[in-house]
Symmetry: C2
């Protein structure tokens, strides 16, 4: 195996799914929080997980180290089966993203895994080519193949990735001077079961209104039109169905909007809540959201990110 | 009335409504075909229509000269009531756009009327401010207030104008090297009754697919990505419900796509059919569409336009 990379460490960020206007098709990367995967060639031919640890350094209390039950290993296996050289692989997973948080936890693990394994390949794939493999892991976790967390975790920034254009991912221009605030209240929501509760049918008036907001938001970002972001960053269809399962949602959203956020909605299926705002007001918006969340009795944490937060990256190889 | 403009002539182009991906919210101006309105101050205080003529110079056989039954006069009256000086007005309408053609005939008349009347005002409004008045005429004709014909007829080019953003209209970047072909088969479809036949309910999968195509198409135009236009210029929801009322549709669309069009669909509720294509192939696409239409026994006419075809304009004043 001379000349080959034997071990690679990759980091992949958390992400905001849906971004209010783009259910299942729009996602935004977050800075400063993500998962890390170390992939190492080992003897044999099988892929195993050596350990899954949390931020506290302890073995993760919930996540499985069974390679058939972990999004990181499922994604890694898919890539290694397609492109690897048949040697054994061992993964270490360091979970930085809280589980069932609406922050794209499963996507971050899957993306970190494929980016690490990609660095072990004789002919690494481009970032764009990694999407299908990362989605294999996401599919296991969320029971649906949509890329609104995987795509921004891979590419960084804001990414438009509707199923109708799969496997294309279209990076949307980041808006200078606009930041995201992501608030994570300490509670959990299962994405797959949240999805099953959504209404299946919508009137033509409903979808045209939401579609108009999505189109307006994409054009607003392309033009850097902050006031148009304010008018369009609205989820008329999904948020009203999901917000009642996050008791602090209404209070946190009101606090964000009172602090002059451009818009505020659930991240993915929640419980995390995000806002976009002028960058110079981000600290104020984050504080207002945290205070409101705590008034409802939930401990919480928040992150502020520019709209062009970086995507996954290889941190080291040897 | 010294110093005032006494008479003004304005032209407003026909337009492609919906543009396949943007039902009720996206429209594209056409070059070389439109309506002309001459507005003249007269004695008295009322607004009248002196005549409505067709392209042949004869009195129009179908359109009413009753000012309460004509989109041009209804739109003109709305603007004159709001901003005029109370004198009488007389309109002459020269119809260049075929009726019930799916080419935005009522919008062209309403837009030409407000642009002509605007030129008579002491303080003319901006083009953007004319939208609500032109829509008054359109509302009478199509029984719905959507701007997908009025907005491109006013502004020219491709315009995104969803009801959720009313009264904003967002011009979308024209794509260099791409042209539209509009084919008008000689038959008529009533927009208002066509609208009533549409399904009211859609599944979440249906609207997400269509919304993904709309978003992709808008980003494709913004980026000048011709291949992405080809992948996204598709109407999955409305076209299948309407195309059977245009017997030549399937044949014309097949001919356009065989001639390498980027996409082809009904213009508005039809019967007109449009395609987008590389500009250097537009003549070939137009010929293929015309030939296919005639094979189905319909006489037809077609127009080729750049994506930045001009909007309404004042042609003369005195």
């Amino acid at each position: 195996m001379k000349g080959k990379v034997d071990t690679a460490t990759a980091f992949a960020p958390a992400s905001i799914g849906n971004v209010a206007v783009g259910f299942d098709m729009l996602g935004l990367a977050i800075a400063g929080v993500g998962d890390r995967v170390i992939a190492t060639r080992v003897a044999g031919t099988s892929l195993s997980i050596a350990e899954v640890r949390g931020l506290d350094g302890e073995i993760h209390p919930y996540l499985s180290a069974d390679p058939e039950q972990n999004t990181a290993s499922i994604a890694a296996q898919a890539l290694w089966d397609a492109r690897g050289d048949g040697t054994g692989l061992e993964l270490k997973v360091l979970k930085g993203v809280p589980l069932q948080s609406g922050m794209g936890s499963s996507a971050a693990s899957a993306v970190a895994a494929v980016v690490a394994v990609n660095a072990l390949l004789d002919s690494p794939l481009s970032t764009l080519q990694l999407l299908p493999y990362a989605l294999e892991g996401e599919k296991f976790a969320s029971a649906a193949q949509h890329a609104d967390n995987v795509a921004p975790s891979l590419l960084g920034g804001l990414v438009f990735c509707p199923e109708s254009l799969y496997p294309s991912m279209i990076p949307v221009s980041p808006v200078a001077g606009v930041s995201s605030v992501l608030l994570h209240p300490e509670m959990q929501i299962n994405t797959a079961s949240s999805r099953k509760k959504l209404a299946r049918g919508y009137s033509i008036d409903q979808w045209l209104k939401q579609q108009g907001l999505l189109g307006g938001f994409l054009l607003a970002c392309e033009r850097g039109d902050v006031e148009l972001i304010r008018r369009t960053l609205i989820d008329l269809l999904i948020e009203p169905q999901r917000s009642s399962s996050v008791p602090c949602f209404t209070g946190v959203k009101e606090a964000a909007m009172m602090a002059n956020a451009l818009g505020c909605s659930l991240s993915g299926s929640g419980p995390s809540i995000f806002a976009l705002c002028a960058s110079q007001e981000a600290a104020k918006v984050a504080t207002a959201m945290e205070q409101a969340c705590r008034r409802f009795g939930y401990e919480c944490q928040s992150w502020i990110s520019p709209m062009n937060a970086p995507g996954a990256r290889v941190e080291s190889t040897k």
